[in-house]
Symmetry: C2
Subunit: 319 residues, 2 copies
């Protein structure tokens, strides 16, 4: 089993030291400091082979994505990421696989100044559990439950590209490079999330699909949401497919990892300036209303509902 | 997959709120505060079915042990536990299993005032990943690398009971209740660990077996250790088996989850008082020396080495 004591090898390719790291990998636990007056923000997410990713996905992409989906949760809180812990279960120890995984994880960690401070590697079905720790000033965390009637609803980036890429890949068809990138290398919207602290009333990251994720915001805020389908931000790949199919992917496909947030209408100018400054595109897609649930308005004026989706088992339900 | 959105069900049986919990399960991340001037201590450990536990172990025991082995890491740092996050992968959603798991996890969490503040439950081979967060005053964390020449070496509790129970269970033989309890319901030595902050020069928890764990302390301290086998704390069950077999289980069996720590000889009285006050037994088993590696002295005066052990694949290597 010594072959599974691979954390040391991983640590050669991933930053394990940095500001606030008093004691990193190599003891019973990490000791972390330098929080100042900030609160701690903690998120955790697991990706399992055959459930959250296909067995033949590149280990570089898995390393990137396993950290990215967790950083995306911190982005949705308006938090600054600091530290990560990794639980890596592998059926066998393949040094090349591990090095590539560490390269993907490490590059994203470096980009966002995250240090890997703890973890374990052990034998088992392939499973990647990541826990991220960050900070946020008291009272400034972006929550799901703060939306108000009349708030505009925004999303960042495009919707549906990752879901389309996954469907094409499962069908054995060629996937456009931009769509494959959306699926394999999502970029967590950390700078946008921090900028939204002073602007947004509620925020969530788009992991399960807009209907599900915005549904959490509406339910936890005790309100309803109206989505105008013609406003959904759409890449050329998505624009080329049939409309019902496109809306279904954009609303239920999941894996977008942009932010969905709400803000009072008078915030629009500040939000557009913020997005421009961060080089991110945000799109206003609807409005918060009294009531419960999500109403999707078709361009023809009718209410629209997606057909049953076949993607459930590649998506992870979230509380 | 909605059947796997089980965190809410879990949260009914495990404390999810408490001091310092600003925002718990139900948002993208937990927001935690109330650290005062203390440093954060973070540990993570995964248990996989068929590797770290047998498929038929009771879910109550799994709930207890998955948290206990992580709290044991915090004990070894002298930290006070505060919060936990749980990554639970299950092949199918069995509410009775989950309730029993939550009862085991929750009872230990309540005992040590730990709140479950984040987690995800998803489909996959059974795997239980727990991350615990605690606090320690600056400069007071117990590390592995502080042992000095002449320090006494101590362990808490008995050695080998859990390993014996595992062997008997694998062989289909009846297991003494006390030994089964050592294997299934280890008690993390949190109070002892906190008391040792001002007494011990180095500390580790006994997860992989004394030889391996004390080996980490010796190596990371740049020194050697001498262990006197006749001093190893031994339960009646262990005392009843052949001596070579007993020593092998006690040195390499693992899963003891007591603490192994070093302290200057003049600390002995304070350490014995501390252990008595906490109702824990500590035993002096050897001494730190110049050099490298572990020397085990047999009662007959010879140096003793364990035979190759058959337990490797039930133990998780640690960095």
């Amino acid at each position: 089993v010594a072959e599974f004591a691979l954390i040391d090898r991983l640590a050669e390719r991933v930053p394990t030291d940095g500001p606030g790291v008093v004691l990193s990998i190599g003891d019973d636990a990490a000791v972390l400091g330098d929080l100042g007056d900030e609160l701690l923000v903690a998120a955790t997410d697991t990706m399992n082979a055959g459930v959250h990713f296909l067995d033949d996905v590149s280990p570089v992409a898995l390393g990137h994505k396993s950290l990215a989906v967790n950083l995306s949760d911190l982005a949705a809180m308006g938090a600054r990421p600091r530290w990560a812990l990794l639980n890596l279960s592998l059926p066998h120890a393949d040094p090349n696989w591990l090095d590539a995984f560490a390269d993907g994880f490490g590059a994203l960690a470096r980009e966002h100044e995250v240090s890997l401070v703890g973890g374990d590697t052990c034998e088992g079905a392939m499973s990647i559990g990541v826990t991220v720790l960050g900070t946020v000033p008291p009272g400034q965390a972006l929550r799901r439950d703060g939306a108000a009637i009349g708030d505009d609803i925004y999303v960042s980036g495009n919707l549906g590209d990752a879901a389309l890429a996954l469907r094409e890949r499962l069908a054995g068809r060629l996937v456009a490079e931009q769509d494959a990138r959306a699926l394999d290398f999502p970029e967590p919207e950390l700078a946008l999330g921090r900028g939204l602290r002073s602007q947004a009333s509620a925020c969530i990251d788009l992991s399960d699909g807009l209907l599900s994720d915005l549904g959490h915001v509406a339910r936890q805020s005790g309100l309803a949401a109206r989505v105008e389908l013609e406003r959904l931000p759409t890449s050329p790949s998505l624009a080329a497919i049939a409309e019902d199919d496109r809306f279904t992917l954009q609303l239920t496909g999941g894996e977008d990892y942009g932010l969905c947030f709400c803000a009072a209408p008078e915030r629009e100018k500040a939000i557009r300036s913020l997005a421009a400054a961060e080089g991110t595109r945000v799109t206003r897609i609807g409005q918060i209303e009294a009531g419960a649930g999500i109403r999707c308005l078709h361009p023809d004026g009718s209410e629209w509902l997606p057909a049953a989706s076949g993607w459930e088992h590649f998506r992870e339900p979230r509380p």
